[in-house]
Amino acid sequence: MPSERRLHPWSVVFTLGAQVRQLAVPILLALFAGSRSGNWGAWTLVILVPSALAAIVRYVAFRYEFGATELIIRSGLIFQNERHIPYARIQNLDAVQNALHRLLGVVDVRVDTGTAGGDEAHLRVITWSAYAEVRDRVLAARGGPEGTGAATPLVAGDTASVAAGGPDAASPPAAARADRGDVLLALTPSDLALHGLIENRAMVILSAALGGLWETGILEQSVERFIGGDAAIRDAIRDVVVGIVRDGVVPWDRLLLVASVVAGVLIVARLLSVAWAVVRLYGYQVRLVGADLRTEYGLLTRVSATIPLHRIQTLTVSRGLLHHAFGRASVRVETAGGQTPGERGASAREALAPILRVNELPRLIGRALPGLDVAAPDWQPPAPRAGRRAFVRRAVVATVPVATGVALAGWRAAWALPVVLAWAALAARVYVAHQRWARVEGGVLFRTGWIWSHETIARVTKIQAVEMLESPFDRRFAMARVRVDTAGAGQGSHHIDIPYLARPAAVALTDDLAAGAAATAFRW
């Protein structure tokens, strides 16, 4: 039996495509610069030919093999590399199929073992049946009931071709049962439209695009061409302000025009976001198959991600203003897998449920974190004087811009001080009123925020280290902060990081969590 396997020949095309995408900026610059000197073709060739050669070499040299307990990957023609990945260490198996992949019947597979550097092995690209084989082999080697399940087809109706693919496939009924699993979440297009409306991703892209245009000076040029330069805008604004302040004449027509343009842009951005969310996440489904969560979505680019349940480190429920209005929430999980921001695979792993009804939350959390009873936790408030500290902190921060204003514009600007202090008082009150933590059997919960709220759940078995911090202010108020460190904790995301605890409570919590973690074994 030939044990070594190769990638699909189309790999060359996709590798080249990925390289070109990475080199897009230099290529565009070459085109931009070359369009003046006239030899842009030569510059593009200089970039493309080595890439094409590298892609061919990669395809020719790349081999993978299923060992008894590990996946063996050989790559490199001159500098040869052999990588052994134990099946038991494989965190996530992600498959991505964009429109071109689907046309050619191939799939882009990432094998991730949880090292910080991202995916350990990138099978770009293999045939659909080869992917089924990889998945079967990995799952079978890991054991458990899910081990016998055949790979799930990314495209519905493809089952027949896949079922024969896995050499370890169990008898058809068992395979079919394991295959479907238990649907935890299925989002309809209207759910996704709502998600797009809330997420408003187009606005982010629009802002980024405007920023880019501004940086490159293109925006300035076009403003100059159509309106007549910055000075014209400044004059127009000054005319309006002077008109209102001195003459009491409000130019309603002009204001209305500006307002309608702004509103138009905002509405178009929302509509684009809705369309983008529906296309990107079309048919979003989370299923529990054995001990794995399987996420699948996408209209053009079909993404399939597998998250083994025991890889989930923390789970965060977030809600915003519109979420409250529509009774929805979003759920993210952090896995120990490599967090490579900006990569599709990573974002697919992070969002477990982009949007779901609040009443569906308990079931999803219950399944994603089995054995953890978070239905009615005993929420604990921060220390009694936490509000005062939260206020002082905000007041100090808010006073800085006011002081700057006073320094620049004189004492006239001091009227802003009562306003920012009032805001600080309100914000501190709201913050402390909604900051809660809870210790449940086998886990710890932390919740912050009122309208924009986050609630994070961490299992004790996933705690790596517990830290208790005391700032000079903490010591003055006999308080402390407790932080829990887990694997794969992303930068800037919500974590168990509880400030303003009464010191005895903080000591007790630290000891409790550390003892709990010490009593359990960490399994990657």
């Binding site: 280290a465 005391e470 460190d485 694997a487 904790a489 000891d511 550390a514 010490a518 960490f522």
Partner: protein
């Protein structure tokens, strides 16, 4: 306040017993995992001071050049510059000589069967607990000055993010090695 740099370096293992313990007495058996708070090796203060004095020397050389340049460029500001430089130097000297002793008094660690707890920090104080079951691997590192004094830094690696690497400097090298051996992932070496 005690002056640690004049105390003779204690022998590696008795240092533990001699250290001021606030916790229970050492349990029978392994004396490392007594669950009591231990101070770092007093020689650590000297090691820290040497490192800081080197920094101070480099910086004061820069200050000296700066002073010379103002002497030749603008005589009117010489006195002010000299005073400012002297103040910086005094601060650096304090930071080099006094701070390690203060930091030493605020640093302690505790080992028991469950894991290791490290307390450090003078102004911002932090206590980090790493359960033994979460230790991925451990290192003992030794810089040139530490080697001169027979000290070492214990580095505990976890699978965490922020605390992927927890360091405990200022242990005698032999003790650091013993703690390292104790913290190594239990592969059936003992049934604790």
């Amino acid at each position: 306040m005690s002056d640690p740099e004049t105390t003779p370096p204690p022998a590696p293992v008795p240092a533990l017993a001699a250290a001021p313990g606030e916790g229970p007495r050492p349990a029978a058996g392994d004396p490392i995992t007594d669950g009591a708070w231990h101070r770092l090796d007093p020689r650590y203060v000297d090691v820290e001071r040497i490192g800081r004095w080197i920094v101070t020397c480099v910086v004061s050389f820069g200050l000296f050049l700066h002073l010379l340049s103002t002497l030749f460029a603008d005589e009117g500001r010489f006195a002010i510059t000299a005073a400012a430089d002297a103040a910086v130097l005094a601060l650096l000297a304090w930071w080099s000589f006094q701070w390690p002793a203060i930091a030493y008094r605020r640093a302690s660690y505790r080992l028991d069967d469950r894991g290791i707890e490290i307390r450090r920090g003078v102004i911002w104080r932090r206590a980090v607990v790493v359960p033994r079951s979460r230790v991925q691997h451990t290192d003992v590192a030794q810089g040139p000055v530490q080697r001169l004094y027979g000290l070492g830094t214990l580095i505990v690696h976890t699978a965490g993010t922020e605390h992927a690497k927890v360091e405990l400097p200022g242990l005698s090298h032999a003790l650091a090695m013993r703690i390292r051996d104790h913290l190594l992932p239990a592969g059936g070496d003992d049934a604790v």
